[in-house]
Amino acid sequence: MSNTKLIKRILTYMSLVFTFVIFTFPFFLMIVNSFKTNGEILQSPFSLPHSLNFSHFIEVINKMNFSVSFMNSLLITVLSTILIVLFSSMTAYYLVRNNNRFSKIFFSVLVASMIIPFQSLMIPLIYIYGARLNLIDTIPIPLLIILYAGFGSALTVFFYHGFIKSIPIELEEAALLDGCTRRQTFFKIVFPMLTPTSLTVTILNVMWIWNDYLLPSLILSKENLYTMPIKMKVFNGTYMNNWELLIPALLLTIIPILVVYFIAQRKIIEGVMHGAIK
């Protein structure tokens, strides 16, 4: 290896390690300080804890009612994502295989809608489903799930649309000739072939819905329905600057998604990559 090449290589590694340290430093700080008392945190936020003291974690779990908001987040994310995947794949299949005028217009409307910022929809949403129809008080969770299904449909149909176009039609024709109905053909033949796309859209939608704050904060007003981000916001309001409790709470809030990431990191990165190419 020549000298310039060696220097280049060393510089590359140095910049990568430097970025790595900067990018992960906040998490390191969270972990280190989660075992300390307020006094220790204020004195030296960088030092390692004297002992692995889990008492603040336990206090936070009890005070935060952690399991309730975790289950709420899980329920909302899972159900919304299932609806998005199911509805959007069916619709994209129909739009590709029936390329008529209606399909073209509907697809264009979906794609164009991706440019609408959420802020331009939220006031009418609250006005219609709150002040007018009162659904926010009566069925907040189902309403939220349906709204997510609606917001997620544009991008998801777009992904499926691109993928289904590349699937040859012969298999479906054979199935139809064998006496399958269109529904059977879709669920037994087409949907299984869509698995890579289904995985990508599941990852993208789960990441967005799990972390979303503004929409659920406008719709979920009862404490027993709070999702994890709302709970964290309320907890932060109650224990302002009480870092010995806030830091374990923040860690507990991010641990579930980090665990999923470490188990499925390859698939998640691949999913994001696939999501970008289209």
């Binding site: 990568l16 990018f23 906040p26 936020p45 997510y148 923040l250 991010i254 994001v272 970008a276």
Partner: protein, 292 residues
């Protein structure tokens, strides 16, 4: 015959009705109704809307708080879009330059994206309020000793830093996906023609990466124009409303001051600005696209 048509209609509805229903409930109806609301006068949320013409738009145009938050947002968007894409692209080049542990770097630099803006804001609040001042104290670095979130200018840059930190890893992944598609033989041909690595990057790789840039710039544009969570949790618009972005301004107008008509008029102005800017960006980006 009739039965057959009915059956066909039934099967069509089965495939498209669910999406039409949820999409209408979440997007189409609110969007149309939102436009209608901007022309209505509503003293309170429960009072019946009365036609008010352009009264809400006139109020929005005169609202100096709205325009100062819009100007701040535009500044924030411009800086964030440039920094996120530059850093994301640089990281993608570094990660794919044949280093060992490529996957390790890729995986760890993506982590900030997994966490929502609200939680990230609180984590960084700890850094700006507790950690950096302690660091500055220890090593005598003046800029870190100041409480960043208490100063209007520094608080703005705190928002920029956290946003870049959050988004750069995501864009890096998209750029890596794009870099893989740059054909090796074209790069080799350029090398034989005497292009050094810098020239290869500027004249070969970058033009071929145009489609990736169209996507990442669109995503960062829309994302930064809509920024709310980080703004809310990191600075809460403070000190003294100096870091209040347009989104937060609209939320405040609507849900704290209960001024739905004017808030929605401002939201529609925001929509027009975002649609115009990202429309032009995608149009220009796609127009000059090269086919590899």
């Amino acid at each position: 015959m009739k039965k057959k048509i009915l059956k066909k209609a039934d099967s069509q509805l089965f495939f498209i009705f669910p999406t039409i229903a949820v999409f209408s409930i979440a997007v189409l109806i609110p969007f149309a109704y939102g436009l209608y609301l901007t022309f209505m006068n509503m003293p309170t949320i429960i009072s019946t809307p009365i036609f008010g013409g352009l009264v809400n738009y006139k109020a929005a145009i005169k609202d100096s708080m709205f325009w100062s938050s819009m100007w701040l947002t535009v500044k924030y968007v411009a800086i964030t879009v440039v920094l996120v894409n530059a850093l994301g692209f640089a990281l993608a080049l570094l990660v794919t330059s044949g280093v060992k542990a490529q996957n390790f770097f890729r995986t760890s630099l993506f982590i900030p994206n997994l966490i929502g803006g609200l939680v990230l804001g609180y984590i960084w609040q700890f850094i700006f309020v507790q950690t950096l001042p302690a660091f500055g104290e220890k090593f005598g670095i003046e800029i870190f000793r100041l409480g960043w979130l208490g100063d209007a200018d520094l608080a703005f840059w705190a928002l920029v830093i956290v946003s870049v930190w959050q988004l750069a890893g995501y864009m890096m992944i998209i750029f890596i996906a794009g870099l893989v598609t740059v054909p090796k033989d074209v790069l080799e041909a350029a090398t034989i023609d005497g292009a050094n690595s810098w020239k290869r990057l500027i004249n070969v790789t970058m033009p071929l990466m145009r489609p990736a840039f169209v996507i990442t710039i669109f995503m960062t544009l829309k994302n930064s124009f809509m920024v709310y969570d980080i703004n809310y949790s990191l600075t809460a618009g403070g000190p003294f409303n100096s870091t209040m972005m347009v989104s937060m301004n609209i939320v405040k107008k609507a849900f704290a001051e209960n001024n739905y008509g004017m808030g929605q008029a401002e939201a529609i102005i925001l929509f027009i600005i975002v649609a115009a800017i990202s429309g032009v960006q995608v149009y220009i980006g796609k127009k000059g696209e090269l086919k590899a």
